[in-house]
């Protein structure tokens, strides 16, 4: 597949790799974004990202940002700079990046799964949810026009093990934030300090419409867990999601509401899909005029 022509997909920021994986010693780093091959080259204090084909790199260097444990770039001209995440400036926090995991699904499906609390008891049983307490309590959801983001606030959920170092269950407060169509974050009550919020982000590099690289990053107040323990907790959670995601059909995200009678849990999905529709985003979106095949 060739580079997309979808302006809404092109004119925004994406992770293209992790600094640990893009080193002079490791050689030329090749990756793919929105159907376009890229070459990432480490240089003094930064990176040069260029489009590439079989003959090597071509064209001008693309914009680059180094932020939140990852290297970012864009194939277009974003209207805004990379979205801020204030917690990364707080020095007592621990940051762990979990590496790139491949998923055969639209990145938009990954975002929607990330927003969905209803699956906690069944997919992350006895960790992020308990089968005896499947209720998704009422929450608020809005498209914030000033920042052009989708937010779900005042979310709560009963969690047997909310984080790597959690001892026993807690009622966890959640805030969800879709910063761009392929980058999503959540803020949740920190088990060791109820006054602060842990941040978990899922940055998605859409390789093709139906193939994604998912980079999870954890930014937590956790004086106890080892770095490895924090990574493994998050990897375990994401690998549980990955099976569900790979088996969803269609692999692309339909923009029509997923249920005829939406439940409370669907509110954030409805807002997310409406926001995508308003943007005119087509990349990773299931064409509405095609019949939807039944689940595989």
């Amino acid at each position: 597949m060739a580079k997309t022509t979808d302006r809404a997909a092109l004119d925004t920021w994406y992770v293209v790799g992790r600094p640990e994986d893009i080193t002079a010693a490791a050689g030329t780093y090749r990756t793919r974004l929105l159907g376009q091959d890229l070459e990432v080259r480490p240089v003094d204090g930064g990176y040069i990202v260029r489009e590439a084909d079989a003959g090597g790199p071509s064209g001008d260097p693309l914009p680059v940002r180094i932020a939140y444990g990852h290297v970012w770039s864009t194939l277009g001209t974003p209207a805004r700079d990379l979205f801020p995440i204030d917690e990364f400036a707080e020095t007592d926090r621990r940051v762990a990046t979990c590496g790139a995991v491949r998923v055969r699904a639209s990145g938009l499906r990954l975002v929607e799964n990330f927003l969905d609390m209803a699956h906690f008891p069944f997919v992350h049983t006895d960790i992020l949810g308990a089968e005896e307490q499947p209720e998704v309590p009422k929450y608020d959801c809005e498209i914030r026009r000033d920042v052009d983001e989708v937010w779900a606030t005042n979310c709560t959920f009963w969690q047997p093990q909310a984080a790597a170092h959690a001892e026993g269950g807690q009622m966890t407060d959640y805030t969800y934030r879709v910063a761009t169509p392929f980058n999503v974050l959540l803020y949740k009550t920190c088990p060791s300090d109820q006054a602060r919020m842990d941040v978990i982000a899922l940055f998605i590099q859409p390789v093709e419409e139906d193939l994604s690289l998912a980079y999870a990053v954890v930014n937590v107040v956790d004086p106890v867990s080892t770095h490895t323990g924090i990574i493994h907790f998050q990897q375990m959670i994401f690998l549980q999601d990955r099976i569900i995601l790979e088996n969803q059909r269609p692999r692309l995200l339909p923009l029509s509401p997923r249920a005829e009678t939406p439940t409370r849990a669907d509110m954030s999905s409805i807002a997310f899909r409406r926001w995508l529709k308003e943007k005119g985003l087509r990349y990773g979106v299931f064409e509405k005029n095609e019949p939807i095949p039944s689940a595989a």
């Binding site: 995991v101 491949r102 055969r104 770095h227 490895t228 323990g229 990574i231 493994h232 790979e246 088996n247």
Partner: protein, 209 residues
Amino acid sequence: MALVLHDYELSADAYKARLLVSILGLDCVKVPVDVFPGRETDGAAFRAVNPRGTVPVLVDGDIVIRSPEAILAHLAARHDPSGRWLPRDAAGYAATLDWLAFAAHDLKAADEARLEEMLGLPPTVADPLGGTRRAYRILDDHLVRQSFDGLPFLVGDTPTVADIACFPAVVLSIEFGCALEEYPKLRSWTRRIRALPGFVAMPGVPEFL
């Protein structure tokens, strides 16, 4: 003294060890290793434990074991009073070792297919998916023959370390898009393993198969 297992939650090989430890109800301290993305297995500290740079590694007192099938055989030989997990009769012993070697060699393709599909790690075998299907076919055919003799497991009428060694490569097939529809006996065999007392899952092991 408790066993020490150098472990990675997402490693199919490490899962073999965790599964038997749990089934045998053994005390085991797990030392998580940052295999991906940290490549801790390439570092000097880990190489001192295991020069091969692989997980799992089992430490049992003075004994250090660095390959998953050897770990299973050791756990059964030393920590299974029933003696059933590593049969001592000549035929059962030979068959068990034979299937342990099958898990280490033929089913390696499935591990490589999974790691390539999930983490983009380059495989060391030419056609990991093709190799996986060939290995599944051999296992499925064998289980068909076993069923003619009324034997539900790879070696006999009770599970052995051979079943544990082969199980992860089969049950994680969904993670690399290899459906088990063509291998009906393989599917019913995974359900029997799932039903064993002390069974534990890992991420990627489907609830129903």
